[in-house]
Symmetry: C2
Subunit: 369 residues, 2 copies
């Protein structure tokens, strides 16, 4: 029942193991990839309670030495202060360059821990054990790591490829429906980027994906394969990889405007709204049949995701303020805005010459009165 | 009179421009490498006063937009807090990925600024304008960046290759003799690693190198070429590059034991003592004729560098404490200590199996009573 996806990066290629219970087989998998490595494990309070016992048992059975650092759960943990704390934890434990830092948790823990692994001793071995759907289908694959600052989200970080990703789909059973939906938005994104058949499959099978079992594993596997293919083509985002940002420029603005308050809006929800906006904006520019934008909004709404700026609780600032967040987004190049636009379901492309005035007009039209 | 050394790293190759006044030609050189880039410049108070006016005039003449951040001079600036400050400076200025971060200063500014350039937006363009001899012949070349923490020196950082290095030898005229000597230790190192003829040349010509003019430029050029050759062979220090650490494991222990107090011991002085210790230790292990160790000590002493642990003002802790610093050094692998040892002048090699007990006994014998 375990699926495997390989991320092809030459000598730095690595496997993603996907399936229920793979965390219980982590010991042998890690020992095979990184013989004799000691593990510096970073997790959060919630995951320490729900998932760590299974991993710990497997490590002990394999005789793998380890230490663990438990951080507060939540987006606020992706900070310079916590980065320094993780770095000090690894150094204090005298982990050497061939030892390994392991992230056990969702995207926050993975991004923060991967960044620390990338800078301690200028780069240590790193293993991702993602426990949220969002992390399994997106953030744990491809090597992007980072933290947030007051200037924006993920503006500081490194590329640090893991040696192994262990995605235990049984861990998802402890997610709230809201968290699961947030990860689902990123799965749907792969269909919208360049796989219309996958989007159509999700439209048909989303209830089974939410319910669990093999359709869920298959959806995760297909998502990881999609991301792995893009990353293999363009590890450093000098080209195609930017397609993975479909919906994300709008999403980051919405997250900034709500101060990364997960009670109001989590990342996947922002991406859902952002993807609908990217389709509506493409339609406004005459690139896309508006019926396709309707179809995207209908499906994401059907699974329970927010799809409009009006859905953001607590309201949003004006269009000019949102544009400021967009201009600070890292996919800006020399004044012209870069957006992922689309000509149809699964027909997205990189537009590097989007006019700020067009974005401002579009936002003004779409903000709730 | 300008010399040029090319660091060969495929598509990331870059030139080092060496000579008196190259800072005054920086504008055209930067514009040629990085068309239209804006510059986020980081320097320290001393260099801002002595060197910045020349660079500023050149940038203005070339119409290159720039902002500058002036930090306190001194090793304490290589900290997490200052890293965060540099990162925020770059983000606040809305520098984009193709803009450039420029380090104008010595090794502290170069290491800190390069680290920031490597993590803002997961990597920005970077230019080094080293103004100390140490930075010109060593730290500005090869892409190692980093900061210090309470656990040790340079244990946190990234590899971030510059796009260009501008080494103005006229800037060295403002150095104190002590600072110049500290850089000279790293120049002598290249001879001791694998170029006995260069070491012999320095023994003959060191007065002219200290006095300035073409012999100084030639010594810097040859040092940069030595380092460039090693880095081209082994960018990430998986092999040969470790030879550049000749003397450095002892040096880092001495620096740690004196709390990085530059009033007592600067890095190049620690390296001078460390290189003599590496030769004495090699002789003690029966690898080296003690006369060669005498020769190294004689030359470094002749130029005015400290050569013995007894030369460290304020005293040192015991041998066991020094060994603790050595064991925390990042060139440790699985318990066995890695040292650069030598079989003669210019005949150094990597020894990965040095016994901690041998080091302890050697330190005990060589510490002042």
């Amino acid at each position: 029942m375990t699926s495997r996806v390989d991320v092809q990066l030459g000598t730095r290629s690595y496997p993603i193991l996907i399936g229920p219970g793979v965390l219980e087989e982590a010991g042998p998998a890690i020992a095979a990839r990184l013989p004799r490595a000691r593990l510096a494990i970073v997790t959060d309070e919630n995951v320490a309670a729900s998932q760590w016992p299974r991993l710990e048992a497997s490590l002990n059975a394999s005789g793998i030495a380890h230490e663990i650092l438990v951080l507060p759960a939540g987006e606020a943990t992706k900070s310079f202060a916590k980065l320094e704390q993780v770095v000090d934890f690894v150094l204090a434990g005298r982990f050497e360059r061939n030892d390994c830092v392991l992230a056990l948790g969702g995207g926050v823990i993975g991004d923060l821990t991967g960044f620390a692994a990338g800078i301690v001793r200028r780069g240590m071995e790193f293993v991702q054990a993602p426990t949220s759907l969002l992390a399994q289908v997106d953030s744990s694959v491809g090597g992007k790591t980072g933290i947030n600052t007051k200037r924006g989200k993920n503006l500081v970080g490194v590329f640090q490829q893991p040696a192994l990703v262990i995605a235990d789909t049984a861990a998802l059973d402890t997610l709230s429906p809201r968290e699961f939906r947030a990860g689902y938005a990123e799965m749907a994104k792969y269909g919208l980027i360049d796989q219309p058949d996958f989007f159509a499959w999700l439209e048909q099978n989303w209830r089974e994906v939410f319910a669990g079992g093999q359709p869920r594993v298959e959806a995760i596997r297909r998502s990881c394969q999609s991301k792995a293919d893009v990353v293999a083509r363009d590890e450093r985002e000098t080209g195609d990889r930017a397609l993975l940002n479909l919906g994300h420029t709008f999403a980051h603005a919405l997250e900034g405007a709500t101060f990364y308050d997960g009670a109001r809006l989590v990342h996947g929800e922002a991406v859902a709204i952002g993807m609908v906006l990217a389709h509506r904006f493409s339609a406004r520019l005459g690139l896309l049949d508006p019926a396709d934008a309707d179809r995207v909004e209908r499906h994401l709404g059907e699974v329970g995701l927010p799809t409009r700026m009006a859905d953001v609780p607590g309201g949003l600032p004006g269009a000019e303020a949102l544009l400021t967040y967009i201009a600070q987004d890292k996919k800006v190049s020399r004044g012209a805005l870069t957006f992922i636009l689309t000509r149809g379901i699964g027909r997205s492309f990189i537009a590097r010459d989007v006019s700020p005035a067009d974005v401002l007009a579009f936002l003004t039209e779409n903000l709730p009165a």
